[in-house]
């Protein structure tokens, strides 16, 4: 064999030997993240808001972590069965992990699929405790569970009264009658007596999340003559309720949500205008002073020039963090295999984050402990941080301007 032929043979053999490693490196180069969100149906608007958080994640994570993320988006249509089907389809199509779905019912269904198929699933927003109580090994959640939300949200009410000098004695509690609302209601019923708050609940009223008319419900709440309204709602019903409260001239001290969507959403402001002001939501929120928040905001403004991050703070923040968690695990695992990713996820410890709270670190059940809430009050038709003082953008106002003592 001549030398040239020998060199060619060596090169060819080398290519054959090294090719599998190239394939492995090619496989590891990009993480396929299946994003499941309700982009149509009752929760369509909120799902679309969450999607903005997913959409900006690849650009931010490429710059900060040096990882390539490919999103595979699917619409759960605010339907549990559809969520399950779409999750399975995403896995069939090659998703290395799943993120989503903003809804406790859908999250429970997807968690089952993820566990059965051995694919990591990172819940962005869903508060029902049972999602991470099933002993699942592939399900992770970076969002407070309902009892935590309730505890944080109710504790902030005490802080709010202290900061404003208000002293309401009674509250009526209204909540949406779905998985989320009922979980919150149970949590509040259990936690309220332990927190030594200065008010008592005089009535609890549940309502259908799809109800077009809440006149009867508001009339019933008004008849209790409570000082303020404690509300766990979704977006559309929050709008209907706020209008009805105004129409029925129910001049309460204010509306406080101890941790539910609706009153800080963009559509709430767009639909209600000035009526949106004064409403308070004690919810997890981004830290406006965090460098990661600023980085996310820069990309958000580029991708959404006519929008503002603060109208999507919770939705974008937690959805972005879910993809961040996936990207961080991928970087450490250096593999897209489910087992490697899951193992890396269990060891997650992200200190630099966007949302107010401790580091993103999963306990044995796959749950992050230490996510905190902020008191967000609508002022000037914008949701602004009023408490904690360290992150505050405005001073809280309570009671609001409509209040008339009777």
């Amino acid at each position: 064999m001549k030398r040239r032929q020998f060199h060619r043979a060596i090169l060819g053999a080398g290519a054959v030997v090294l090719a599998p490693f190239n394939i492995v490196r090619a496989q590891s180069r990009k993480l396929k993240v299946g994003v499941l969100l309700p982009k149509s149906g009752l929760q369509g608007v909120i799902g679309q808001s969450c999607q903005k958080g997913a959409d900006l994640a690849p650009a931010v994570l490429k710059e900060r972590l040096g990882v390539e993320i490919e999103l595979m988006n699917a619409d759960t249509e605010t339907n549990v069965d559809t969520a399950r089907t779409r999750a399975e389809r995403l896995i069939e199509e090659g998703a290395h992990c799943l993120v989503g779905p903003f809804d406790s019912g859908a999250a429970a269904a997807i968690a089952q699929v993820a566990e059965q198929r051995g694919v990591p699933f990172i819940v962005n927003i869903a508060a029902a405790p049972q999602i991470t109580e099933q002993g699942y090994q592939y399900v992770f959640r970076n969002f407070p569970i309902a009892p935590e939300l309730a505890t944080n949200g109710l504790s902030l009410i005490k802080d709010l009264f202290h900061a404003t000098g208000a002293a309401p004695r009674t509250a009526v509690f209204m909540h949406v009658n779905d998985t989320f609302g009922q979980a919150n209601a149970k949590a509040i019923a259990a936690i309220l007596p332990r927190l030594d708050l200065p008010f008592r609940l005089v009535e609890t009223i549940s309502y259908d999340p799809a109800a077009k008319d809440l006149a009867v419900e508001v009339a019933k709440a008004k008849s209790t003559k409570a000082d303020f309204l404690l509300l766990v709602s979704r977006l559309n019903d929050a709008i209907v309720l706020r209008r009805e409260i105004f129409k029925q001239r129910w001049n309460i001290m204010g509306i406080i949500s101890p941790g539910s969507p609706g009153m800080y959403e963009n559509q709430f402001f767009r639909t209600l205008g000035k009526l949106s002001d004064g409403c308070i939501s004690n919810v997890p929120w981004f830290d406006p002073k965090s460098p990661l928040t600023k980085a996310v905001d820069a990309v958000f403004r580029k991708q959404n020039p006519k929008d503002q991050l603060r109208f999507h703070a919770l939705n974008v923040g937690f959805t972005f963090e879910a993809v961040l968690v996936a990207g961080d695990a991928f970087k450490r695992a250096r593999s897209t295999s489910a087992e490697a990713l899951a193992e890396a996820l269990r060891r997650t410890d992200i200190k630099e984050r966007m949302m107010i709270g401790g580091p993103i670190k999963f306990n044995a059940k796959g749950q992050v402990e230490g996510n905190l809430s902020a008191c967000i009050q609508n002022q000037g038709q914008k949701p602004l941080v009023a408490l904690p003082a360290a992150s505050a953008e405005v001073k809280p106002i309570f009671p609001w301007s409509e209040y008339k003592k009777t």
């Binding site: 982009k39 149509s40 149906g41 009752l42 369509g44 608007v45 009658n177 009223i205 549940s206 309502y207 259908d208 799809a210 109800a211 077009k212 008319d213 809440l214 006149a215 009867v216 419900e217 009339a219 019933k220 008004k222 008849s223 209790t224 559309n236 709008i239 209907v240 209008r243 105004f246 129409k247 029925q248 001239r249 559509q267 639909t271 009526l275």
Partner: protein
């Protein structure tokens, strides 16, 4: 807690006003069945289509839905007339399950058409006066509901007068009472059936305009309104126009009272409980004719 008379009075009033709009919705269904012998399973979807028409006219041209009622009613009358003439008339003598499938298909086409055209997001008609309330003694009456109820009752009254005092209305009633006799005397039954269907669609469109100011619109609203209309018609009496209005008021008040005194999240349960009671003890409905 002391008995809240004023709260009760306000709730009953609200139920009656909403019930008037529901009654008009059911009236259209009753007219279509009573005359054309078609059970319109697409009635709620036609109503939803009218809601969107009113909302789009408001959003694009600033037309108040109360002003849009007349042109939309005319438009939906023509739509209903043509739909019956072109499609539904062919199924009048076919088995009932064929009619059901046809109208269900029409309902699905309308719903998905709305979804494609307008997307899934809820819409609302926002007018300043819709946030106002009118004080009548201790009662606080929602201005939007008051106007909607007045418009609905006016439309119902116009329909009554048409059937009672016009030649065409009399001819339509003749078809409903005695089809063979109507044919024998030379009435154009196909045309009259189509007129009745058009009037039913027009009623649904007026109800739709009213509902557009009372509730948010979503493409999937149709089935709930179809079901509501059926409940009212069955309670009031299939084929009875007065029964439809009374049924609407009963359902509106029943839901309001159930919500106020029992569980608001189970309001619909009481409407269906009322339906079961009526079916058990008076299957033809409160004012329905004997089978």
């Amino acid at each position: 807690m002391p008995f809240d008379f004023i709260g009760l009075a306000n709730v009953v009033c609200s139920g009656l006003l909403t019930g008037a709009v529901y009654g008009l919705l059911a009236l259209g269904l009753s007219v279509i069945f009573g005359v054309a012998r078609v059970v319109n399973f697409a009635h709620g979807e036609i109503t939803a289509l009218a809601m969107y028409a009113a909302a789009i006219l408001f959003a694009s041209l600033g037309v108040d839905p109360f002003v849009a009622v007349a042109p939309l009613a005319a438009g939906f009358f023509i739509f209903g007339y043509l739909l019956h003439g072109a499609v539904i008339h062919r199924f009048v003598d076919r088995p009932e399950h064929a009619q059901f499938i046809l109208l269900l298909a029409i309902a699905i086409v309308i719903t998905n058409g709305l979804l494609i055209a307008f997307g899934p997001d809820a819409r609302a008609v926002s007018l300043d006066y819709l946030l106002e309330s009118v004080e009548v003694g201790p009662l606080l009456i929602d201005r939007g509901k008051l106007y909607a109820a007045a418009a609905a009752l006016s439309a119902a009254a116009a329909l009554f007068l048409f059937f009672r005092f016009t030649a065409t209305g009399t001819a339509i009633r003749a078809c409903a009472d005695n089809l063979q006799g109507a044919r024998i005397v030379g009435l154009d039954v196909k045309h009259l059936y189509a007129l009745a269907f058009g009037l039913g669609a027009a009623s649904a469109s007026v109800a739709g305009c009213m509902l557009a100011v009372l509730a948010e619109l979503t493409p999937g609203s149709g089935p709930a309104y179809t079901l509501l209309a059926f409940v009212i018609v069955i309670v009031g009496g299939l084929g009875s126009m007065t029964g439809a209005l009374i049924g609407g008021a009963l359902i509106g008040v029943a839901e309001a009272l159930a919500g106020f005194y029992a569980a608001p999240s189970a309001k619909s349960m009481f409407s269906f409980a009322l339906l079961i009671v009526v079916l058990l003890f008076r299957p033809r409905g409160l004012l329905g004719g004997k089978p």
